[in-house]
Symmetry: C2
Subunit: 559 residues, 2 copies
């Protein structure tokens, strides 16, 4: 064994390309010599200051520069932050994809939307399976999470076993009866684990995360008591919760319609692949649902995050094509606002109350639990595996710090804990672990069809435009004589309401005119000099009058 390891080379690198120091776009490269295995390929949502950006994906430069070495992509589960960037990678790099059936089914849908197919060699695996990817033997180990068919990975490398938890909680009463494979994790712990790469999302949260069953119980109580229609908003991918809602609907004699594209998609895939079990006749079209009395209706819907274009948000302002909120309705938010969405969620709740609905939301209601393990579960994972080295992944920097402290509390020495960020190269041998460099990493912004074509300059411009708008000064100058033959004209957008600010813009024009004539009277200057003079006089004048700094764009037209 030792000899074989030496032959294969005992150096292995773990290189996070996303998910460290952030929530989202999880992506980890595991490299041994000329072989790279990629674990997960997710997206994240834009920060507030990334104006106009649709999604953010990892920077794949390192993988593309080493394209001949990339042997395969394994996916731990089917959430957007683990699979959302697969089409963007696959378009550039045809690498076989390995994942459990539900995950692969969701990926196939994504690829199809992008006009792509699963690359050759891709295949579905079952929890418990081991796939060979280059020199790596990758074993899929069942864990529990807020989407079925989630796995941790035990990756056998030349330096030892690396365990990647994926996202996990230890739900002791999983809705689908599929327990985390404690036995296998414990066996690995006994055999010896070189490094544990573990989900840090809830590292700030003491105790245990409650079982998804708790939500089911509370939902059932709501279904039992509600006298009118029920609208239930939750994450589109939470198949367990959708299952529990459907079960309660069946129990309390209600029909169910699904509204909202992403939830319709998940339900379709989950039904087709057998992850969702619906009694005959329960699931109906939303138009058909209307024919039943209110107390026999349930609508499962998207919009639990108050997303402006989502079904529930539209309903809350009476702008949905087929559903109108009315007094007697009970709307359940079976979700916690993701940080950044708090105000949108609150606004939707307020509007639902304004329309006379009863709204059930918030921690006290007990209709949401996290899909991520809290501190005690994170410690349990560490203690089941007793790794030699520990590396917190999946989390903002403070979460990684807290997770590192938990590991220390479990007896992992501080110098065996690796705290890094995206792009950090962590290098392992059977005995050692160290930071061994840095590779390109970062965020690639996707705006419409453009991938990475919106960078800092464009964003800086959008920011300035968004704050104070733009003033455009156009002047036509005879290219021979340098004489002004048209303009200057000033056009503004997003700066002031023009009808109320005629005097201001009139005066601005006069000042520009004065500057132009004065500058031109001396000698015909470089246009750049002229533009800069216009910009100076205008920005000074406007700031003085308005305390605003619109973008000023002088355009000189040679005629």
């Amino acid at each position: 064994m030792a000899r074989q390891q030496r032959e294969r080379g005992q150096r292995v690198q773990a290189i996070p390309l996303g998910g460290l120091g952030e929530i989202g776009k999880n992506c980890m490269a595991i490299q041994e010599g000329d072989h790279i295995l990629v674990v997960d390929c997710g997206l994240s949502f834009p920060e507030e200051e990334m104006l106009g950006i649709d999604i953010v994906i990892p920077d794949f430069t390192y993988l593309l520069e080493n394209r001949d070495k990339v042997r395969g992509l394994v996916l731990t589960h089917g959430h957007e932050d683990h699979i959302g960037a697969v089409p963007y990678l696959v378009r550039q790099l045809e690498v076989p994809v390995y994942a459990t059936r539900l995950t692969l089914g969701l990926v196939e849908g994504k690829l199809a939307e992008a006009g792509l197919k699963l690359p050759p060699g891709s295949r579905a695996v079952k929890a418990g399976d081991t796939v060979k990817v280059g020199p790596f033997a990758v074993e899929f180990i069942r864990v529990t999470h807020s989407i079925p068919d989630s796995c941790a990975l035990a990756i056998r490398t030349g330096a030892g076993v690396i365990v990647h938890t994926g996202d996990f909680k230890f739900d002791q009463t999983p809705v689908d009866g599929e327990f985390a494979d404690y036995q296998r994790l414990a066996e690995l712990g006994r055999e010896g684990v070189l490094a544990l790469l573990a989900d840090s999302t809830n590292a700030e949260r003491p105790g245990y995360t409650p079982s998804e069953r708790v939500v089911g119980k509370n939902l059932d109580e709501i279904f039992r008591l509600a006298r009118g229609r029920i609208l239930l908003a939750t994450f589109a991918s939470n198949v367990h919760r959708i299952q529990q809602a459907i079960d309660s609907a069946a129990r309390w004699d209600r029909k169910v319609a699904v509204v909202g594209r992403s939830m319709e998609n998940t339900v379709e895939v989950a039904l087709k692949l057998g992850y969702l079990h619906v009694p005959d006749g329960i699931l109906v079209d939303v138009e058909e649902l209307r024919r039943f009395p209110a107390q026999n209706q349930v609508i499962l819907t998207t919009g639990s995050q108050g997303e402006p274009m989502s079904a529930l948000t539209r309903m809350s302002v009476n702008d949905h094509k087929s559903v109108e909120i009315m007094p007697g309705d009970t709307v359940v938010f079976a979700a916690t606002p993701i940080p950044g969405n708090e105000k949108d969620v609150a606004r939707t709740i307020n509007n639902l109350y304004r329309r006379g609905a009863e709204v059930i939301y918030g921690r006290e209601a007990g209709v949401h639990v996290s899909g991520h393990g809290s501190q005690e579960e994170q410690k349990m994972m560490i203690n089941l595996l007793r790794p030699r080295f520990f590396m917190p992944i999946h989390g903002e920097y403070r979460m990684l710090v807290h997770h590192a402290r938990l590991a220390q509390a479990c007896g992992i020495p501080a110098d065996s804990i690796l705290l890094g960020e995206n792009g950090t190269v962590f290098e392992f041998t059977p005995q050692t672990a160290a930071i061994a460099g840095k590779v390109a990493s970062g965020q690639v912004l996707v705006d419409g069809l453009g991938v990475g074509d919106v960078g800092n300059i464009v964003l800086r411009d959008r920011r300035q435009l968004s704050q104070d708008g733009i003033l455009i000064v156009v002047v036509a100058i005879d290219r021979e004589t340098g004489v002004i033959v048209g303009g200057p004209d000033i056009v503004s957008r997003g700066f002031v309401y023009v009808r109320e600010s005629e005097g201001l813009l009139e005066e601005a024009r006069d000042r520009v005119k004065g500057t132009l004539y004065e500058t031109l009277s001396r000698r015909v200057p470089e246009w750049a000099v002229l533009k800069s003079a216009v910009r100076d006089v205008l920005s000074k004048y406007l700031f003085e009058k308005t305390r605003r700094r619109p973008m000023i764009l002088p355009i000189i037209m040679e005629v």
Copy 2:
């Protein structure tokens, strides 16, 4: 008494101009015949979609249209959401201001910044005082809140006593020893209260809000244990908390420097007026503080909300002129993120960890308590006063709904509870209460020096500019012949990174050119027709190529 009331007219209106259906810009007009009393005059902070807006103030149209009737402005306490818009009102309407000393001191500072003074007739009052404002006798009743000198108001009107709670909690162990005046509230309850207008901020929160002393105790423990420098970020106006921090500093032999303009202001005013008690030699300049060992330093600072320009945020990215964060520092966030600020706060915490500081934050840390009473305190207020009518104020719509339910639980009949929003006219007689109309109300946006000049059109433009930028098409046309003599030129900002998109813009220019020549070849059209043709061809082409919709601005220059 009955006769006197009849003479004065028994109809009284309460007209909220801000603070109902929202958090912030609290402002309430109480009107009896030709007499208006204004209670509070606050600002709120812009919603995310109000691009470029600095602050939001109430629409004062109703007050300005009735300027001859406005007799006075009474302020319940000195928070921005109760006094922040005073300069904007006073500039247009010179109305005497009545408030307790600290509140008035803070208002004076605000007015001075705006080049204004307190209007004639203004004066400071003490809790327990009654001032005559037109026909109204306004009694100031001490309550506890997160700023000293906070009061509720008992307003004697021709229809009966209206009690306005201001913002309040029932802190049973107030830091300054100034208890809420339970006795006076109870007396009023016995005498008979016509209507209670009560703070709804925490109507969703069960139980009691802990005393500010709890924070003091936990802070003291942090001060006792910290081995290095302590940085404490909290709300600039929380004088009680600043007092407790200073007390702990003195106890554990630390010097204190205050960093951040708004906190420096509050401390200065509170010191001058005697609301803050600082042992000699404790308070030093930040430059002087440096000369002491780290374990003898405390910095009180702004930035507890992760505000981008605040002192602590700058420190967290090593961009503050006088303070650098280093390992060994303990940074305490003695504040909860205000909804909407969660991500900014998280980012600051992450950056502080990156710089090696220890950070204490979050609910578990026990270093923040709300200034608003929870459900049990809200019920206590209702039960002390036993009003005939109840009107929830100060809160988003769902909070008003929950507060109304609490009142019902306390035995106020549902039809004696008035649920309304800004602009609703509530009319009271000694026996009745009803909604009696609607007045102008809403939000006035302040951007730089402009008050209300940024409206929906400007915001819509800013939004479009922020999402996909702008393309400007300039063409010079001979006004006599209709022949193109210059251009078309295309300039873009915030759309694509031009160097990488030359082909796209080149092709766009060709298409515009084609359209221009074709349109002009037939006959010289209205410029509007020409512009619209340019806009159509360009927006179609760009959306097809990029899936983006930049603003397209054709400018035709006649030469």
